[in-house]
């Protein structure tokens, strides 16, 4: 196979980024020689991310790429980055740890992870580079998985690293972004922004969030121009559908919301988009397009967890040409790059997401340890010893768990069902269910969070039986609620009423709240769960949970206000 860029059909001077980064054109790029514009697009990314001088050293970036290759189990990419140094300083170890988590568990990257980088001395520019380098690693590993390039003569096979020490103790919290706050703003006529306005009709937050590195945004736009936009092989709609399906497979709420909007603008119905997100086999796509989504989705999810080979033969049997398959693979690689970039930056959606991915969307058949939504690990759980005893057959140990948690369970239930007597009876049912299913509790969240989830489900079931017509799972649509009571409150409202009156007033006010806000407020303010724990118990995203808590608090404030408004001329209580 020729290594001469000219033989690839590239103009002189192209592929310079790849050559600058690696010293030659690796086979993973040559394997796409039937679609030179795709190689050129990838070269732009390699040039901007790996070849240019930046805040992170080239050695640090190669170290990250090696780590990503390990997480994604790509032997080819491990060999490609074999010469990179191992993490040698504590600071490097923090950086590598971040990349390993982003590559393996992107949806669970949180503000805490980014804060960890800041505490280790990395500024926003360095953090952006770490994110984008990890994303590049995703792109390269995806290409290598699908194209299976022969090992280059310049490379030697290498043994996988042992990252177990660095990966130990991953903290799986879920918090909303954005994580970086560029101080500079790019001008409205910045050419990439013009590109987005012309192609998408808007400038996505993902790109505004990279204002620290305009050259990166330019490279990403060139990659889109080289892979997504042309229509000579796959159609634009076919590729947009690939992006949508893969983003759904990657549980990327941001990209699903964005591509749904773009596909809609291209004439695809929202119903069809939603069907692709949930199960493209049930959509009205042609058998060929369904095969394309089958193949590309499997490839996108192919990682250390899944190693299914990319089935190019099936695509050929559906009439796709080799060049179309190469372009499809490049589209998957670019989507994985962009999804990883968004997860690392925590970019907030440009549109209200129709589909918010939560931990419930994880594939249950994954048998490797997977992230949980509760920041606390099992060993931090004060109930873990008692739970282990019950699980090993000591039923009497359950008595202390009931004693410890009955008040919380009752509190959750009374808030959900809105009736104290029903809550008292249902409290017992919750513990009996918990006992029955304790064998399935694997300690991925705190026992108390798990118990709270059972209480919410039990209460919701009860409510549904009692009021079958009430819709319990309304989406968080903005109902135009605005605070109306804007008079000052007395300084010590607790002293205005007797304790029992205050208790009744709060109870009545809380019970009048719509159920979704009532439950949110009960979990956060009465049961003192963290926002993350409450979101985990309800199976909601953190932003949705935050919105419900705030709405509940503001609505309750409205109903309490008439009792605590400061009288005119009074200085307080």
């Amino acid at each position: 196979m020729s290594k001469d860029p000219a033989a690839l059909g590239l103009a002189p001077g192209e592929c310079t980024g790849v050559i600058a980064a690696y010293g030659f054109v690796p086979n993973v790029f040559l394997a796409q020689k039937d679609v030179p514009r795709v190689i050129s697009a990838e070269d732009q990314l390699v040039d901007a991310i790996l070849a240019r001088d930046s805040v992170l050293t080239r050695e640090q970036k190669l170290m990250l790429l090696r780590g990503v290759s390990h997480v994604l189990a790509s032997e080819y990419c491990l060999a490609l980055h074999a010469q990179s140094p191992r993490a040698c300083t504590e600071q490097d170890a923090v950086l590598l740890r971040f990349a390993l988590k982003l590559a393996g568990h992107a949806p669970w990257i949180s503000a805490k992870d980014v804060e960890g980088l800041r505490q280790a001395g990395f500024d926003d520019a360095a953090i952006l580079e770490a994110v984008v380098t990890t994303a590049l690693g995703q792109l390269l590993c995806t290409l290598a998985k699908a194209l299976v390039p022969p090992l280059d003569a310049e490379l030697t096979s290498t043994v996988p690293d042992d990252f177990s020490e660095i990966r130990e103790g991953f903290n799986y919290a879920e918090t909303s972004g954005p994580y970086l706050w560029p101080q500079n703003q790019l001008a409205n006529d910045f050419p990439p922004f013009t590109f987005f306005r012309e192609q998408y009709g808007f400038v996505p937050n993902l790109y505004r969030g990279q204002a620290l590195r305009p050259d990166l945004i330019e490279a990403e736009v060139r990659a889109l121009e080289g892979i997504l936009i042309p229509e000579d092989l796959l159609s634009r709609i076919q590729k947009e559908q690939v992006v949508l399906a893969i983003s759904a497979a990657n549980l990327n709420t941001y990209y699903v919301a964005m591509r749904r909007q773009i596909l809609s603008a291209l004439g695809v119905s929202l119903e069809e988009c939603d069907q692709i997100v949930e199960d493209h086999q049930q959509s009205s796509l042609s058998p060929a397009d369904k095969s394309l989504l089958d193949g590309t989705r499997n490839l996108a999810r192919s990682s250390g967890y899944r190693s299914e080979a990319f089935d190019s033969e099936r695509l050929r049997s559906q009439g796709f040409t080799h060049a179309q398959i190469v372009e499809g693979v490049a589209m998957v690689a670019l989507t994985n790059f962009l999804n990883t970039l968004q997860s690392g930056l925590g970019t907030v959606p440009d549109f209200p997401p129709h589909r918010v991915f939560t931990p419930k969307d994880l594939y249950p058949e994954l048998n490797q340890a997977r992230p949980t939504t509760d920041a606390s690990r099992a060993e931090d759980d004060p109930d873990s010893v008692l739970v282990a005893r019950v699980q090993s057959g000591d039923a009497e140990a359950f008595e202390d768990l009931v004693r410890r948690h009955s008040r919380r369970v009752f509190g959750v239930l009374s808030g959900v069902v809105g009736n104290i007597d029903d809550a008292r009876d249902a409290t017992q049912d919750v513990f009996l269910k918990a006992f029955e299913h304790i064998g399935t509790f694997q300690g991925r969240s705190k026992f108390s969070t798990w118990l709270t989830s059972i209480a919410i489900n039990t209460g919701t079931e009860l409510l549904r039986r009692r009021r079958p017509t009430e819709i319990l799972d309304e989406s968080d649509v903005d109902e135009g609620f605005r605070p109306r009571q804007i008079q000052s409150w007395t300084d010590n409202p607790e002293q205005v009423l007797a304790a029992s009156q205050l208790r009744d007033l709060v109870r009545e006010g809380v019970l009048r709240l719509p159920q979704r806000y009532r439950t949110a407020l009960i979990l956060r303010d009465l049961n003192q769960l963290s926002t993350e724990e409450a979101a985990a118990a309800l199976g909601l995203s953190i932003p949705a949970m935050k919105a419900r808590i705030l709405r509940g608090r503001l609505m309750l404030r409205e109903s309490l206000a008439p009792h605590f408004i400061r009288e005119k001329g009074s200085s307080g209580a």
């Binding site: 006992f435 208790r503 009744d504 407020l521 003192q528």
Partner: protein, 80 residues
């Protein structure tokens, strides 16, 4: 400067102390100049404190033990 609608959109982050420093500074700048939002912030904080301290949905202490014993009796019955 932020509008009141902007402030309310970020109010949750302000209350939970999760706003980043830049946003927090903008929110506080708005608050210094907006009496209405000052009232909303003050009364919402008081609402949270009242709710947190109210014991409105707390099981009375003397009702805990009967529940514990009833649950354990039902578990023992099932095991036999």
């Amino acid at each position: 400067m932020l509008s009141c609608a902007d402030f309310l959109a970020e109010f949750g982050e302000y209350l939970e102390n999760t706003a980043n420093p830049g946003l927090r500074a903008r929110l506080e700048e708005h608050l210094r100049q907006c009496k209405v939002c000052q009232v909303i912030v003050d009364s919402t904080k008081k609402t949270i404190k009242i709710v947190t301290d109210s014991d409105s949905f707390t099981l009375p202490a003397d009702e805990v033990e009967p529940i514990v014993q009833s649950v354990m009796a039902r578990i023992r019955d099932k095991k036999v």
